[in-house]
């Protein structure tokens, strides 16, 4: 019980600290450039930390280390995809987006195309990607808090209460603190996460005299699974699983640079050079963090029980890191164990709060800036009106996320995140890349690629085994449904769990098809301007002078 009190105290400290930051930030916020882009006044290093804070979600911290603990080497494949993906953002997207856009992903398309159709399309996919991602984080928050505070998992009211509480907090961060508050919450979280996981990594390695080979050997032996250190344990079963892995790998590497909540972070710095610096810092930070998850995951496999019926297996691996912290702190019941468990749980909680704040801000900004101001008010809304609508939108989207997360609370977090990546790669990346590099690209191409990628992605998922038909064994050895629909309902015909392999090429194909079947001289003419502005920063949005 004592560790639960300590955990609760630390959770409340995280909440108090982040609320304090948010209220302070709100005093320095006036106007849309402050509210949406933090006044474009963060340094490259600060923004690098904030990107790390925005990106390293509960799925990374809890999910990847848990996947490694349970599936060995195959869990590590996530880390690699998530990291290599940053090169797409660095080389092709970050600087050009900073120079050509203003507040949202739609801005760079609207720069040379018909405002209303492209803004509607881009705002739609922004909201869809963000909702999937939000669901994953809130489901994660729910199960984390439930397990760590010792609430009964079957107590639907308590679980729903926790999810609603997280949702309410994120609405407060966004409506009160705007981008400045959100950014500082993300910076604090990144520092806490790096420091917390570094501590556990050192303690784990110390148990093995800093000998990586010994750690791996113990992990393989303790896991009791043959081939634990080689690829294939989870995905090598048959050709379908292998294609699924290929599909996942492609979605991960191409999805990052299409995630709206990551893209808007590039607007918070004064110049494109700072945007580049922030991605460089982020790559360093995220790379080191994923190396940590390798040690955390294999450490959990080596030091904890991970077989059927264990706490790690029952939580789908999500509790591997917190329980590992308890183990290296001295084990269950010891003071050191209780302190480290509470500490790491609080870090995981801060992680979730920072990510949900970023997602909510991004999607509500797009609703207000793209849909309300540009489409409905034809660009005539004042800054005050736009910000007011953003606040309503944040409250509305937060409410939707809460209402969806409660029934979805038993879904696998990693699946929801991978799905968000697949949608981002299929619907967003093609139009961003075409827009920056293809003069001929136009409004029809942009809307077809966004809607085409989005619809093919969602359709394939709906008819995939994760929605209906997937089965597995529970702890007692009974066959249970691992899909969204209960056992017995099976209408799947698409064999893969991740749609990326098909839907990403389709997104590119529809973009090409829409473009070549229409002519839009104005868009081609304006490409000249876009290209100059994107590469040189001439005429780009300036930082706010306070």
């Amino acid at each position: 019980m004592d560790h639960q009190v300590l955990t609760a105290v630390l959770f409340l400290s995280v909440v108090a600290l982040t609320l304090f930051i948010t209220i302070r930030a709100s005093r320095q916020t006036s106007g849309t450039a402050d509210f949406y882009a933090g006044g474009r006044s963060f340094s490259g290093f600060q923004n690098g930390l904030a990107i790390g804070g925005d990106y390293m979600s509960a799925a990374s911290f809890l999910g990847i280390s848990g996947a490694i603990a349970l599936a060995g080497y195959d869990g590590f494949l996530y880390s690699i995809g998530f990291l290599v993906a940053w090169l797409v953002a660095l080389l092709l997207v970050a600087e050009m987006l900073r120079n050509s856009g203003k507040f949202t992903m739609a801005d760079q398309l609207a720069y040379r195309m018909k405002q209303r159709p492209v803004r509607t399309a881009a705002a739609t996919s922004t909201v869809v990607v963000s909702i999937f991602y939000l669901l994953a984080q809130m489901v994660g928050a729910g199960s984390l808090v439930v397990l760590l505070l010792g609430i009964d998992k079957e107590n639907t009211l308590a679980v729903s209460g926790v999810i609603a509480g997280v949702g309410a907090l994120m609405i407060v961060y966004v409506t009160v603190g705007g981008m400045k508050g959100t950014t500082w919450v993300q910076i604090v979280k990144a520092v806490l996460l790096m420091a917390g996981s570094a501590l556990i990594v050192v303690l784990v390695l110390a148990k093995f005299d800093f000998n990586l080979s010994e750690l791996l050997g113990t992990a393989a032996a303790e896991s009791g699974k043959p081939g634990f250190l080689e690829p294939g344990l989870k995905y090598g079963i048959d050709t379908t699983h292998k294609l699924d892995f290929l599909s996942l790998g492609i979605a991960l590497v191409l999805g990052t640079a299409g995630l709206p909540h990551i893209l808007v972070r590039f607007y918070t710095v004064p110049t494109s050079r700072d945007a580049r610096k922030s991605v460089l810092w982020a790559i360093g930070l995220i790379g080191v963090f994923y190396l940590f998850t390798l040690v955390l995951g294999f450490g959990a496999a080596a030091l904890l029980k991970t077989g059927a019926g264990s706490d790690v297996a029952n939580s789908d691996g999500n509790l591997a890191s917190p329980l590992l912290a308890e183990a290296v702190g001295g084990g269950a019941g010891s003071t050191g164990g209780a302190i480290l468990l509470a500490l790491i749980s609080a870090v995981a909680f801060a992680t979730i709060l920072a990510v949900v704040a970023g997602l909510t801000l991004t999607s509500s900004t797009s609703v207000a800036h793209d849909i309300y101001n540009s489409v409905l008010r034809k660009g005539k809304a004042t800054e005050e009106e736009e910000i007011r609508v953003t606040r309503y939108a944040a409250a509305g989207l937060g409410l939707v996320a809460i209402l969806l997360a409660i029934p979805a609370r038993n879904l696998n977090i990693a699946f929801l995140v991978a799905l968000a990546f697949a949608v981002a790669a299929s619907a967003n990346l093609p139009s961003i890349v075409y827009n920056m590099f293809w003069r001929r690209f136009n409004t029809r191409g942009a809307t077809w690629s966004i809607y085409g990628g989005l619809i093919s992605c969602i359709t394939l998922v709906f008819f995939s085994p994760v929605v209906s038909g997937k089965t597995g064994l529970n702890a007692d050895g009974d066959v249970v449904s691992k899909a969204l629909f209960p056992l017995g309902v099976d209408f799947h015909w698409f064999p893969l769990e991740n749609p990326g392999l098909i839907s990403i090429p389709l997104g590119f194909f529809f973009g090409w098809l829409g473009t070549v079947t229409s002519k839009e001289p104005a868009a081609e003419e304006r490409f000249t301007e876009l290209e100059v502005r994107a590469l040189t920063g001439a005429g780009a949005e300036q930082a706010v002078q306070h």
């Binding site: 080497y73 590590f76 494949l77 690699i80 995809g81 990291l83 290599v84 940053w86 090169l87 660095l90 080389l91 092709l92 203003k102 609207a110 720069y111 040379r112 018909k114 405002q115 209303r116 080979s213 010994e214 791996l216 050997g217 081939g227 250190l229 080689e230 690829p231 294939g232 995905y235 090598g236 292998k242 892995f245 790998g249 492609i250 590497v253 050079r273 610096k277 460089l280 790559i283 360093g284 790379g287 994923y290 101001n373 540009s374 660009g379 001289p521 104005a522 003419e525 304006r526 000249t528 301007e529 290209e531 100059v532 502005r533 590469l535 040189t536 920063g537 001439a538 005429g539 949005e541």
Partner: protein, 134 residues
């Protein structure tokens, strides 16, 4: 269509993108801009193809070359782990190389063109409206 709009039309003429600014044409036609674009693409296109191919090779080998990936290198460290860590190393290396390249080869040209843009637009634009859309 957009070329029919007069410069006085506010960017809120909303169904179309904001009107084209002729200063950009001038910069676009300059030798410096052509050189900047050539240098930028000369780095990022080959680099993107290279790291995507390298990453896909890793994914494919993990899938279809289990025996090779499972070979021991030192102690319990096998080819798969080394290959994975090499992906980290190449990501860091490409990021670092790009940073060095753009500091040396791209930024000076971009700054020069940006300064020329400021000078030109102050000369031609007496109308108060700044470029860029809302």
């Amino acid at each position: 269509m957009s070329s029919d709009l007069s410069p006085h039309d506010p960017p809120e003429s909303h169904d179309l993108a904001a009107r084209h600014d002729p200063v950009y044409d001038e910069l676009h036609a300059s030798a410096e801009f052509a050189e900047l674009r050539r240098r930028y693409r000369g780095f990022v296109f080959p680099a993107t193809i290279a790291f995507l191919a390298w990453y896909l090779l890793y994914v494919v080998l993990s899938n279809w070359a289990g025996d090779f990936m499972g070979k021991q290198v030192v102690g319990n460290i096998n080819v798969a782990l080394v290959f994975g860590l090499l992906q980290f190393a190449t990501t860091f290396a490409i990021a670092w190389l790009y940073s060095r390249y753009s500091n040396a080869k791209l930024d000076p040209l971009a700054r020069e063109l940006d300064e020329r843009f400021v000078a030109l637009s102050q000369g031609t634009r007496s109308r108060g409206a700044q470029g860029g859309e809302r």
